[in-house]
């Protein structure tokens, strides 16, 4: 992925899982990288995620809900990778207003700031498969109806829509990637706020067992973080992407029981068991999901390259080595 050398890139959520992996790649490409992150303990930011590149990025701790810091930070940027967000479906149901302010209102502030002080910027927004809700057909392409089943999905859809609107109405070049389950080194593993897979990683590394909700037959697709970063970089470098929405996805679609079995095998210890769905999860569960990513493959040449087995092994290895930076291993 060329084209970033000497370019100024801002990453919101830059200390988070995907943001920090993206930062590392951009630093390698010799972009001038600014990271903005709120370091809210319940979210994904972790200074350890940028340990190796700390002196090669500009770090600004602030919250995307603060319109003044954002207005300052977006100035003079060539590209904004807009990744900051509240990601927990469950938290969005418990504190819907917080989710709204972060995932919708703050996005409007960022876009307004760009419109006023940096209309030539390019923005890539990290959206989510959650906007689709319960699939009517599989794999889901970008024309599938959007009927989110939780507050998070509704607000992410609004945030995504603002980006496309500012592209179409004001010519501020923006696009959105609808990410599916992304995993890898740097993900939040302390709890299931980012993904149940993160929690599983921690439990297995701690030598504990993992639980699969329901009968384990729900199917999902997964992207290793490096593949996700490839997609973000491709979208940020292409004007074909402007005004577009692209699904990510994977050719490997597995059931949660298969995933659990594979992770237990790779961990070399622990086992998994099926447990009944907690009622508050069941009601926002969407059943099977897999995304059709042929649009981004055709237009931007992206496709995932890391096999699930390989990505999971890397992830488990990372947390075996660095787990203390992500949770209290004596807890």
């Amino acid at each position: 992925m060329g084209g970033y050398k000497g370019r100024r890139a801002l990453i919101t959520g830059g200390l988070g899982f995907i943001g920090s992996s993206l930062a590392r790649r951009l630093v390698d490409e010799r972009a001038e990288v600014t990271l903005v992150d709120s370091l809210i303990p319940e979210y994904g930011g972790n200074l350890f995620n940028v340990a190796g590149i700390r002196d090669r990025v500009r770090l600004n701790i602030s919250d995307v809900r603060d319109p003044y810091s954002m207005a300052y930070l977006v100035r003079d940027q060539d590209v904004v990778f807009n990744l900051a967000g509240q990601t927990s479906h469950r938290d969005s149901m418990i504190e819907p207003r917080t989710d709204l302010v972060i995932n919708a209102e703050a996005q409007l502030s960022i876009l307004e700031a760009c419109r006023k002080s940096n209309p030539a910027v390019k923005i890539v927004f990290a959206s989510t498969r959650q906007v689709y809700g319960k699939p009517e057909y599989l794999p889901i392409d970008e024309r599938h109806p959007v009927r989110p089943v939780d507050v998070n999905g509704i607000n992410k859809l609004a945030g995504e829509s603002y980006h496309l609107l500012y592209n179409n109405v004001y010519g501020i070049r923006a696009c959105a990637l609808r990410l599916t389950n992304t995993y890898g080194p740097g993900m939040r593993v302390k709890d299931a706020r980012q993904s149940f897979l993160g929690l599983w990683v921690r439990l297995l590394v701690d030598g504990r067992n993992i639980e699969v909700f329901g009968d384990g037959t729900q199917r999902r697709d997964f992207n290793f973080v490096d593949d996700c970063v490839d997609a973000l970089l491709a979208a940020g470098a292409s004007d074909t992407a402007n005004g577009k929405i692209y699904n990510l996805g994977s050719a490997e679609v597995v059931s949660l029981a298969e995933l659990a079995r594979l992770m237990v095998e790779l961990a070399g210890e622990g086992h998994f068991e099926l447990v009944a769905f907690p009622p508050d999860r069941k009601v926002i569960d969407i059943g099977d999901y897999c995304g059709d990513y042929s649009l981004i493959r055709g237009e931007l040449g992206w496709e995932p390259r890391v096999r699930l087995r390989e990505g999971l092994a890397k992830t488990l290895g990372y947390y075996r080595q660095h787990g203390t930076a992500y949770w209290d291993r004596d807890a």
Copy 2:
């Protein structure tokens, strides 16, 4: 429409155009009616709208953005007609955050208040055809993709989605009607904030000419306010409606030039002219629109009964008589 006698009904936006017409019908049916309205000058509330029923309703001036007053007001209600909103597409582009707070955030507060203190309530939400964006086919049914072309459409979609979510997840019976252009006595005519048609009414009553943007061939459907009220009452009285979205619409679909010609004829004075689209309107214009209302016709037995010619004549007659209550006729 039976079933409202003795029932407690709250109408948000109750001094507005549609809210006040609904209030009159509910009072006639001997419901116990509470109106909440902010009386913000730029919006639709007007005390004159309830002149005839002022002593038969409870009136509470407050803003749906005030979660405390809303939490108090929704208690003990049997049904909430949730009509308050920011309606101007143009204002939503100029002050996007205001539109977001009213059309999305305040809706969440209302729903949270119902969940906490009145989960047995029934809610009817006034949504808008604006959520569809530019039609891909006509007439638009409820399965048409939603791709709003302005901030107002994005936020109304979020507000609508919260209602369906609270129905599906928490069992708070809610449904949404996607209104099309509604007109009639009580509408805001001071400017085009509610509808260009309102502005046309004022200009013609004032003996002035009206302007049609573009070539006048854009087609639209229109509902007379009494028909819209019928639909709200039907939805509020039916549990079939819970969790549903219904289009309104009309069998009469006319071009804007035809509409202007008819209004000039009925007014007996003035004329209309075609003018170029102002750039800020053009970019959020959706071209032709008409809604397929067969779902609500089939499920709730609703269809519009007032012909356009009849409804427009009533509307012009009303403002000839009561115009001073809606604008300064010497201005």
